[in-house]
Amino acid sequence: MIDWLTEPFTYEFMQRALAASLIVGVLCSVIGCFVVLRAMAFLGDALAHAILPGVAVAYLLGADLLVGALVAAVAVAVGIGLFSRRGGLKEDTAIGILFAAALALGVVLISTVRSYATDLTHILFGDVLGVTAGDLWVTGILALIVLAVLLAFFKEFQLASFDPVLAHMLGKRPETLRFAMLILLALTIVVSLQTVGVGLVAAMLVTPAATAFLLTRRLATMMGVAAAIGAAAAVVGLYVSYYLDVASGAAVVLAATAAFLVAYVAAPRRGLIARRAARRRPA
């Protein structure tokens, strides 16, 4: 049994994969709490897809993919903010337009490259087994920055998420905080690209946080529980990926989904069973 557990990690690439998956699992889950509570899931997904052209341009220029992704993500975050605030469009409409256009642009750019199919697959679904030591450093540092900002301004982010009116009255600039959250989200997606890919990063943002939402009654606890679920999903997913020889990013997401389903049915207060029982009891 011990051998069964340790065997995968005798390979160095698997150790790096584990470290990268753990970082991404924790980071996505923590910031995902705000995504879930502010109903920003669509936005997260859109940001992820919008990163594609940035990655493609960087690839074509031979520049660092991470830098390309970062530039694109920030540009899209700014674009969504401007379109919806000044252009008089509803935010989801603005997101929908930018999201589809950026994805199409990304595919067009990547399709000019010969090794198109494999590259696109890696970007869409991640390639955690190909993480280099350098990648790991960048991932770790960016993740630390995002988590540090979230913790330092936890009180402000909590207030602006729960009650933007009070935040405004108390001089806490909810608009600035919202924009800062978009940038942090963009950074998170960039960090997650190699592990779970563009297609599945939205799942890592939403699923562990939604699971934690069902289990907790305070935001700080929700973030802690989400981080634990994200980390557990990363480990379980990697084992599944190793022993069943399936794509690791997808395995991690499915592990998180399994946790969500259990919580959805059996959570003490907000689960299906508890809500049924509460309804049967006279009020």
Binding site: E156, D163, V165, H168, M169, L170, G171, R217, R269
Partner: protein, 272 residues
Amino acid sequence: MPEPYLAIDDATAGYDGRPALTGVTMHVPHGAQVAIVGPNGAGKSTLFKALVGLLPLRSGRILLHGRQPGGQTDPIAYVPQREEIDWSFPVTVRDVVMMGRYGRLGWFSRPRSADRDVVERCLDELGIAELAGRAIGELSGGQQQRVFLARALAQEPHVLLLDEPFTGVDVSAREALLELLSRLRLKDITILVSTHDMAIAAKRFDLVALLNHRLIAYGAPADVFTPAHLTDAFGGQALFLNDMVVIDQCCPGHVGGGESHRHSHEPHAEPR
């Protein structure tokens, strides 16, 4: 009337298009309790949003103690309508009340023991100390309202705005709120309450402001609730029978004005 504490002068405010409020002039003395009444969509919420600085005035001005309100030590506290709050958000009662202290805390600082003392005192004042660790979504409507009242008191405000606090709560919560209002009289907090309930406005408030896009009447309840003013405010919805007024707020002309239509189906009967 003593020197005005809260002075609203010729204020015009509203979203795009026709302003929801035009040329409102209203002086509120220190420590007064004012009921703001009027039909749905009359601009009661707009007035509050202008007072808390969410909606900039198109013209006119608002002065509190001779200064423009706003900023970190804003002495105005606001209790929103219950529909505006996300009750499924994972926060405890104590967390919410502590948010009332955030205006006094810098961006990096954590609550100090003085802040925690104020929070506990406000929880006690509202009788919800034993609920402090519960999630807000688990409480009854009346308890939820008391959480937000406690938060407003934790701001140690000079002016307290309550948006439709008598709507959607049961009779005991309504009585508890009225009792709190009379206790707050001793603390010299100026209070503005928007309400559909004109019986409460007439019986329990010093001053009433009757609003319908403009200020129709403002003063003591007996001077405000006259047939002429009520016809002006409610039009055909006001019906005069002997010495009674019946106002039918069931089918207001401004449907979709953003205000709750609950509790407005029974006609309000007012003694005159």
